[in-house]
Symmetry: C2
Subunit: 103 residues, 2 copies
């Protein structure tokens, strides 16, 4: 094993709880889609429901959990609640996923 590789494994070991928790949030077809749309800009709950074909309740539950995790943030604007990606690492990850799986 090369020196730099040992470093990689070590750092991953320290972070594996945090990183796997984030991956778990993305590890659902419709949550992944929700984040994919949010990666392109803020959206209301209703927009996400339609774009991703997820029920009102599930959309709201998913967003609430991801907000608790600090992955997204929300802002009330009139009747609507607008969500955006809060964790920059999630934004980067979505971009990598696009590069790896969709090009």
């Amino acid at each position: 094993m090369k020196k730099q590789d040992r470093g990689l494994a070590l750092k991953m070991g320290q972070k594996s709880e945090e990183v796997s928790a984030i991956l778990k949030a993305l590890a659902h077809p419709q949550r992944l889609l929700i984040l994919c749309h949010l990666a392109q800009g803020e959206k209301t709950v209703g927009e996400l429901e339609q774009l991703c074909s997820v029920s009102q309740s599930v959309t709201s539950q998913f967003l609430a959990k991801m907000k608790t995790q600090g992955l997204v943030s929300s802002e009330k604007r009139g009747l609507h609640v607008i969500y955006s990606i809060e964790d920059e690492r999630v934004a980067k990850l979505m971009s990598s996923l696009y590069d790896i799986f969709c090009k």
Copy 2:
């Protein structure tokens, strides 16, 4: 929404089942660690057990499932079974995760 962004969302929509299934495989602290070590080169089951502090049974179960998914492959060599990453996209993803979360 920009044209290129609609493209991104569309492609992600088509792929979201497959991609989220792969993410699910990584979305566990010790499986992530296993893949992190495999990303640095082939390893025996016993090596992975020790490197990741996972029981024999669980290590084997995790590897079996990831093999069924096509993410890793195995080869018997003498007494040992050696695993490696089979899906190049997983290797790329591990590398991206390192860049995003460990730098």
